[in-house]
């Protein structure tokens, strides 16, 4: 909890985006999470991504469930819409909102408890249905809000702060998302914004289920010597599959790579995510290659990060269900009641 009011003043040379806004204009209330929480860094990365993509805050809806992670939407994009739902039920709310108005950007913020335990059923079906949402799991392997019990993503060998053994193996949400059919799956680390911000930007531009498993150390309960989700453990064991760079529509790629060293994946609006390959035997558009890579890293005791899987061909939920293009609140009476003639025609078809 922070009691100092954040001064309104900003650096006189602070950059403005195409909307004439500074990064500070995308801020939220001051965080009440513990000092040093990884979630705050993720919030900072999200607002950085929104700033750089020139997103208007009123076109964003922040949705969350329960937990430390689910408090986080209060700490960025103060001018956006938001819905803090029941524990684990964020995907349902996101589905409803999305079908009612698919023109908005939906940021689903969840945690490892909210997604991998109480809400796992909801998560599974949102991924399977290709719900068009940026689904962020702020993964710290612990139930911080209830004083540090193990969560379902805590690794088997990772003890508690008090020395207790963990009895059950962990769920790898990224691997699970790939298997379930999510079309954009990445893993990142709250302490590596150079990787995280471009991934978030690409996820926001991707159409379909964009899943980001972001390891976010809990300074209070899970940043100790035997934790596998601490700042120093992740930094020591991080293996990045590629160095992502987001290239907005109409901008040229300025970084030069050696031949065969980079892949450019076009996103739906024509922007690109450019991936500088750090690993030769890896193709992010191939499910089998991605899963094999994840398994291999796990065997080697590494934490695999970067864009793990992307499929830009798949249909999203709205296309599959053939939902009307216009947001529901913009449909007029004329759209909804096409008149007696149309009705007769339809009735005739049914005869």
């Amino acid at each position: 909890m922070t009691y100092i009011v954040k001064p309104k003043n900003h650096h006189p040379d602070l950059e403005k985006n195409e909307l004439g806004l500074t990064r500070r204009d995308y801020e939220g209330s001051i965080s009440s999470l513990c000092a040093g929480c990884g979630h705050d860094s993720i919030s900072a990365a999200i607002l950085e991504a929104c700033f750089e993509l020139n997103i208007s805050a009123h076109n964003v809806a922040k949705l969350s469930g329960i937990g430390c992670s689910s408090k986080a939407p209060a700490y960025f994009l103060n001018q956006s819409h938001g819905f803090n739902s029941v524990h684990g039920r964020m995907p349902s709310v996101a589905t409803g909102a999305n079908l009612a108005n698919h023109e908005m950007l939906y940021l689903g913020i969840s945690g490892d408890g909210d997604t991998a335990s109480i809400g796992i059923g909801q998560f599974v079906h949102a991924a399977r249905r290709q719900l068009n949402v940026v689904y962020v799991v702020e993964n710290n392997g612990t139930y911080g809000l209830t004083k540090g019990q193990f969560s379902a993503t805590n690794d088997l060998e990772s003890k508690s702060k008090y020395g207790e053994d963990n009895l059950f193996p962990s769920i790898d949400l990224a691997a699970m998302a790939i298997q379930l059919g999510a079309s954009f799956v990445a893993r990142s680390f709250s302490g590596d914004k150079e990787q995280l911000v471009p991934l978030l930007k690409a996820a926001m531009k991707h159409k379909g289920f964009s899943f980001l498993d972001i390891i976010s150390p809990c300074v209070t309960f899970n940043n100790h010597g035997t934790s596998t989700k601490s700042y120093d453990y992740i930094r020591e064991h991080n293996e990045s599959v590629s160095k992502p760079d987001f290239v907005p529509l109409g901008k040229e790629i300025t970084t030069s790579y050696e031949e065969g060293q980079s892949v450019q994946v076009p996103l739906h609006d024509g922007s690109l995510i450019s991936l500088e390959k750090l690993s030769k035997d890896f193709d992010p558009s191939n499910k089998a290659s991605s899963l094999a890579k994840i398994n291999k890293a796990e065997e080697e005791g590494k934490v695999l990060t970067g864009l793990l899987y992307i499929n830009t061909e798949s249909k999203d939920l709205k296309e599959t269900l053939n939902v009307v293009d216009k947001p529901l609140n913009q449909l007029s009476e004329k759209d909804l009641c096409p008149g007696a003639e149309k009705l007769q025609a339809i009735n005739k078809d049914l005869c």
């Binding site: 001064p7 650096h11 990884g38």
Partner: protein, 671 residues
């Protein structure tokens, strides 16, 4: 578990080696160094080389106690990366306190402003008195080098009204007699002659009296104060304030010889003095030799002489129409004084363009508020007389043209000459020193512009017994400079009396104390006030313009003083970073409202400045650079430029790697 020499600090292993008692003055109680590892086994292996190097350091210090070993360590190749900032250098944090650093006397400004906001006016006054000697006078008349330096000019708009807060300390203080330093009854037997009773001499005397030296003060006028009395009109500086602060020092035990002008340095040197301090200022006003000057003599007055004659009540009237020549503060004082002595039409005429006038911005504003017009780009050509009496002046219109080197020349525009009618003219076009009373063959060397050669550090002339300070040393400056000179000259004179090396200057006193009280409690006020600079209330012009002794500015009341004090950003509450505690969670980088904090790969200064989140382009402001961090080998770089000292970095830091610590820097004085 073998943990000899090892201890754990926030998960990281450290080595500690005790320092022998004899060396603790130099090295402290023990020497510590982080091993930058969380792993005990690794630490056990790593410790031996570190222990060895620490012991070597102890041994080296034992052999040559005065040698500075730091230098070798910091002298790393600056071309490839920036060295770790040495915050133990007293000037590093001092420079962060912009106002104090800019003040010639280095008054601890934020410290006294905090005292004001707590209502401790007496304490605030004494902080000032120790440092700048004349808080009541300076709070009304200082040229305020601190204010343009104020951090608020970079983060907000207008600086804190530092000068007028200084006045508040005088206006609301209690009796301070019991707080003044004691002057010993027993004297050292050393006698110092001080020439001129201005701020420089008074400062020297104050400092040296406390040490038991005898001070004999010579002054040509009947009262002390120097230019503070003669050149600053009473509507800016009331006589009571002046008398109070001047007498305070004189009453400490100065032997005064008023009305005694020194006319020969040679004969003074023959008298029984161990040293002589010259604080005679720059008492000669420049004259204007143009056509008609001789004939109109009766109605042409030299500005500073005219102000002096008002101060001693020899002059109490002036003609109805007055022209004031010159654009400095004296000109502003002359025109405003004229109004108060009965002039009805006062004009200020300046050679230069308006924006290049030498007067302080606020002095010009005050004159304009009294509806005095200022004519720029007018060069005086001749005095016009009718039947032997001055009736007007003729001016040529010019424009300022700058050459490639920025040198200005005033080129006539070719327009018709301008004629202003007048009854009296006040010439305020500059001041000179006057050293005709110092013989040139007595060992005091004179250099350019007939000024004595004075050492910039010791204030000693080429005659070892003779010291200079204030305007007498290097020409006209402000009172605050005279006070600064006085402190330094006093140090030199005391060393001279004791046959010590004058170049061996004493170090400043510094103290740095954490402000952390609890997890979220800080013992300083870190809310950033968004209030605009408060304006000082003025006396009604219908009263103030009628009487030269009515003070124009009324000063802040206690409520305004509090609000204005709240605008201070507490730049002396330093952001202190301890790299060995940092876990690189980036919380500080994310929260900093002005994007000062960066975690970045080190490089040379130029690249580093450009690679920051927001490039650090203000080269006057330093970068705080940490040592390499354990996890990523990056360094923490903080641009001091627009840091608000709000403390959010420390508040959001989970390990206390950031701390807010109040830094008190006190310039060395002789006592």
């Amino acid at each position: 578990m073998d943990t000899r020499y090892l201890f754990k600090r926030h998960n990281t292993w450290w080595v500690k080696v005790a320092v022998p008692r004899t060396l603790r003055n130099q090295l402290g109680y023990d020497l510590r160094q982080s091993l930058k590892t969380h792993n005990l086994e690794e630490a056990q292996d790593l410790r031996w080389s570190v222990i060895e190097s620490l012991k070597e350091k102890i041994e080296l210090t034992r052999q040559s106690p005065l040698q500075d070993h730091k230098e070798e360590e910091t002298n790393i190749s600056v071309e490839t990366f920036m060295p770790v900032t040495d915050t133990t250098n007293p000037q590093y944090y001092h420079k962060v306190v912009d106002c104090q650093y800019a003040c010639p006397s280095h008054t601890p400004v934020p410290e006294y402003i905090r005292q004001i906001s707590q209502g401790n006016y007496t304490e605030a006054y004494m902080i000032n008195w120790e440092s700048n000697v004349f808080p009541g006078i300076l709070g009304r008349t200082c040229d305020r080098p601190c204010e343009p330096a104020c951090r608020r000019t970079r983060t907000h708009e207008k600086p804190v009204a530092i000068c007028r807060l200084k006045r508040v300390t005088y206006d609301y203080k209690d009796d301070i007699t019991h707080l003044l330093p004691e002057v010993p009854q027993e004297k050292t037997g050393k006698r110092l002659a001080l020439i001129g009773a201005g701020p420089a001499s008074l400062t020297v005397a104050r400092d040296l009296l406390v040490l038991g030296h005898e001070c004999i003060l010579f002054e040509k006028d009947p009262q002390g104060g120097g230019l503070m009395r003669t050149n600053i009109p009473a509507f800016r500086l009331p006589v009571e304030v002046l008398d109070d602060e001047v007498d305070q020092i004189i009453n400490m035990g100065i032997e005064t010889r008023f009305n005694s002008e020194i006319t020969s340095m040679e004969s003074l040197l023959e008298e029984d003095f161990d040293a002589i301090f010259v604080g005679t200022g720059a008492p000669k006003g420049k004259d204007l030799s143009i056509e008609g000057r001789q004939e109109a003599e009766n109605n042409i007055h030299i500005g500073i002489d005219w102000l002096t004659s008002i101060a001693f009540e020899h002059t109490d009237s002036i003609g109805k129409k007055v022209l004031v020549l010159g654009g400095g503060n004296t000109a502003m004082d002359c025109c405003r004084s004229s109004l108060r002595l009965g002039a009805e039409d006062v004009k200020v005429v300046v050679r230069s363009p308006f924006d290049q006038m030498k007067a302080s911005e606020w002095e010009i504003e005050e004159a304009m508020e009294e509806h005095i017009p200022i004519f720029e780009n007018h060069v005086p050509k001749k005095f016009l007389l009718n039947e032997g009496k001055l009736v007007g002046m003729e001016f040529e219109k010019v424009e300022a043209v700058f050459d490639e080197e920025g040198k200005r020349s005033l080129i006539p525009t070719g327009e018709d000459p301008v004629i202003f009618e007048c009854d009296d003219v006040l010439v305020a076009i500059g001041q000179d020193n006057a050293f005709d009373w110092i013989e040139r063959d007595i060992g005091i060397e004179f250099g350019e512009w007939d000024m004595p050669v004075v050492d910039k550090i010791t204030f000693q002339s080429s005659h070892p017994k003779v010291f200079f300070g204030g305007d007498a040393a290097w020409g006209p400056e402000n009172i605050i400079w005279a006070a600064a000179h006085g402190h330094q000259a006093a140090i030199s004179i005391d060393k001279f009396f004791n046959n010590q090396d004058l170049y061996d200057r004493p170090d400043p006193t510094t103290n740095i104390v954490s402000q952390k009280m609890g997890v979220h409690e800080w013992s300083y006020d870190n809310d950033i006030s968004q209030a605009k600079r408060f304006l000082v209330p003025h006396a009604d012009q219908s009263i103030s313009l009628k009487d030269i002794k009515v003070e124009v500015e009324l000063g802040f009341d206690d409520k305004q003083a509090f609000e204005e004090a709240q605008r201070c950003l507490n730049c002396d509450v330093q952001t202190v970073f301890a790299e060995d505690l940092c876990i690189e969670c980036d919380a500080c980088e994310d929260i900093c409202p002005t994007d000062c904090i960066n975690f970045i790969d080190n490089s040379n200064e130029e690249d580093l400045r450009n690679n920051l989140r927001i490039p650090a382009l203000n080269l006057d402001q330093d970068l705080l650079v940490s040592d390499k961090l354990i996890q990523t080998q990056r360094v923490m770089v903080k641009d001091e430029d627009v840091c608000l000292h709000c403390g959010l970095c420390a508040e959001r830091c989970p390990t206390g790697a950031w701390d807010m610590q109040t830094y008190l820097y006190e310039e060395a004085k002789v006592y």
